[in-house]
């Protein structure tokens, strides 16, 4: 069990001795990200290859999937027109598909297939992307002044206050502004560490229990629970949180 937490890291570009800037890359994470992308691309290609009016099996699955996420995006964002809501559908649906398949890939029985989501670098970049998109949409929907004005706290914009009360409201921004900024940073930490912790936790528990029980029946059930059930649930939670952060930012 000594290999728990070990990572295959390349410090040099392959076949050269030029160091990689930033201290190296996690090769398996990049490899598995590419594998997940290729699998998704292949599955989508197979599904939409022959679009018919009476759908085949793959087309039904894809159509109901898109319909499900269309409903979720529409009911969360509540833009007045269908096109504005539809703009977010590719982002949200592909985020779910990537995270979900990324969680499943550790199920394949070689150690080359590691969950890319069990690497904090991957989940942290997804989380930063989510918050950056939320801030961008918020600025676009409300304008930079109003969006960043909200960070100054609820007492900053008081039209009816005068004199000392107004001054106190402005001074309260000194207290609220750092807290709100830290709150935004905490969102990135919590969304990325939640996914990372759940996926790597499942992987480590499976390894430890498999070693303790000499790989008999138990790991299969654990795989079903941690990889498929927890993996799907956490992918959905990650996607819904991204969607909710965008929805909160634009309203």
């Amino acid at each position: 069990m000594e290999h728990i937490g070990e990572r295959l890291i390349w410090n040099y570009f392959p076949f050269t001795n030029i160091p990689i800037p930033g201290g190296g890359v996690n090769v398996l994470t990049i490899f598995n990200t590419l594998v997940v992308m290729a699998l998704l691309w292949g599955m989508m290609w197979l599904g939409v290859r022959k679009l018919t009016r009476v759908p085949g099996r793959a087309q039904v699955i894809l159509e109901s999937f898109v319909g499900l996420f269309d409903g979720l995006v529409t009911s969360s964002l509540e833009y007045p027109t269908r096109d504005q809501n539809r703009k977010f559908l590719p982002l949200i649906a592909s985020l779910f598909m990537f995270v979900c398949l990324g969680n499943f890939i550790g199920f394949l029985p070689t150690h080359y297939f590691e969950e890319p989501t069990a690497d904090i670098n991957c989940t942290m970049s997804l989380g930063m992307m989510a918050i950056a998109i939320a801030i961008y949409c918020g600025v676009k929907a409300k304008g930079a002044g109003e969006f960043f004005g909200e960070l100054l706290g609820p007492m900053w914009h008081q039209e009816d206050a005068t004199g000392f009360a107004k001054l106190a409201g402005k001074a309260s921004a000194l207290f609220f502004f750092p807290l709100n900024v830290i709150g935004e940073v905490a969102k990135v930490i919590s969304i990325s560490f939640r996914l990372f912790g759940n996926i790597i936790g499942g992987a480590i528990i499976i390894v430890v229990v498999s070693t303790l029980t000499y790989n008999t029946f138990l790991p299969i059930g654990l795989d079903l629970f941690f990889v498929f059930f927890v993996g799907t649930v956490q992918a959905f939670v990650f996607t819904m949180l991204t969607l909710t952060y965008i929805a909160v930012a634009i309203k």
Partner: protein, 325 residues
């Protein structure tokens, strides 16, 4: 009195395993008891549905019992982990105690929390027996999410057991115990809170079964936000385990890490439970009035963000203690 390394090893094994199993089993037992009690009450009202009720109760208790199984696995590892000459002694004993604290306290919260959805599912099945399959699946999703804090606690315990702690003399012992304490204590509140949320969702769904998908979505988001204090605790214990290579080799370093652990650990209990109370009512409300779902979700998120700010203060204090003071 001089304590030999052998004696330290035994002390660590006994204390660590008893903490893991004692605290971890305590929570799951309370949760299972709640499910059993509610099943009994429901059976009193609907004796004809006894087989459905018995099945729901056993399923709820079986899924809700998995935190105690995590505690059992870690407890057995603590008892039988092989020790080599170079590591044995006080630091080894404190890694065992830290692992026991992490998994014991962490599984306590999730164990009690998993009881709430199981209990509500039993009473819901009695009121609405035709919907028992949908109720059971909501209950299991809720319980799986309420177990996230205990999974985090198990990771930290296993990292403590299998990876070397930073070697900084007496302060290493502090790092090991503090990493366990910060993870375990901060997972206690979130586990309970996520369970309370899942209970509210199952109750709402049993009264208004037609709005199931919206209730489940509100529950998942609410539970995810409830977990945040546990994530802060995990972050602090990772920082302690992987970045404190140049801590003061003295009682100052020891007390520094312990102080940070107490801040983020105890500070995470309240916000976890508070967020759970917020999202419990929010789940029931969005089950009752699914057309106003977006409004309730927004109110819930704001309420949870405010209730969570104390956990963020605790995290800041812990980071300041570790890196500034």
């Amino acid at each position: 009195m001089d304590i030999t390394p052998e004696t330290w090893n035994y002390i660590g094994r006994y204390v660590g395993a008893s903490l893991a199993l004692g605290l971890g089993g305590l929570g799951a037992a309370i949760g299972m008891g709640m499910a059993g009690a509610e099943a009994n009450r429901a059976m009193m009202k609907q004796p004809s549905k006894h087989s459905d009720l018995l099945r729901t109760m056993l399923l709820g208790q079986a899924v809700g019992g998995s935190p105690s199984i995590f505690a059992l696995v870690v407890g057995l590892l603590i008892l039988f982990l092989p020790v080599n000459e170079s590591t044995s002694g006080m630091v080894f004993a404190s890694t065992l105690i830290g692992a026991g604290l992490a998994v014991g306290l962490g599984c306590f919260g999730s164990g009690v929390g998993c009881g709430f959805p199981a209990a509500q599912a039993c009473s819901g099945v009695a009121r609405n027996p035709k919907k028992s399959t949908a109720l059971t699946s909501t209950m299991m999703i809720g319980q799986a999410l309420a177990q996230s804090p205990s999974i985090f606690a198990t990771i930290v315990a296993l990292i403590l057991l299998f990876l070397p702690t930073p070697s900084v003399g007496i302060a290493s012992a502090g790092i090991a115990i503090a990493a366990g304490l910060s993870m375990g204590a901060s997972a206690l509140g979130p586990g309970l809170g996520s369970g309370i949320t899942a209970g509210g969702a199952v109750k709402g769904q049993s009264d208004w079964p037609q709005s199931r998908s919206i209730t489940v979505r509100t529950m998942m988001i609410g539970q995810a936000i409830c977990d945040t204090p546990a994530i802060f605790g995990m972050l602090v214990s990772f920082i302690m385990l992987f970045t404190l290579q140049d801590l003061e080799v003295s009682i100052i370093g020891f007390s520094k890490v312990m102080a940070a652990a107490i801040a983020v650990g105890i500070g995470g209990i309240g916000p976890g439970i508070g967020c759970g109370i917020v999202s419990e009512t929010s789940c029931e409300a969005s089950a009752k009035k699914p057309e106003h779902d977006a409004l309730m979700l927004r109110t819930m998120l704001i309420g949870q963000a405010v209730s969570q700010s104390t956990a963020i203060y605790a995290l800041i204090i812990a980071l300041v203690i570790l890196f500034v003071v």
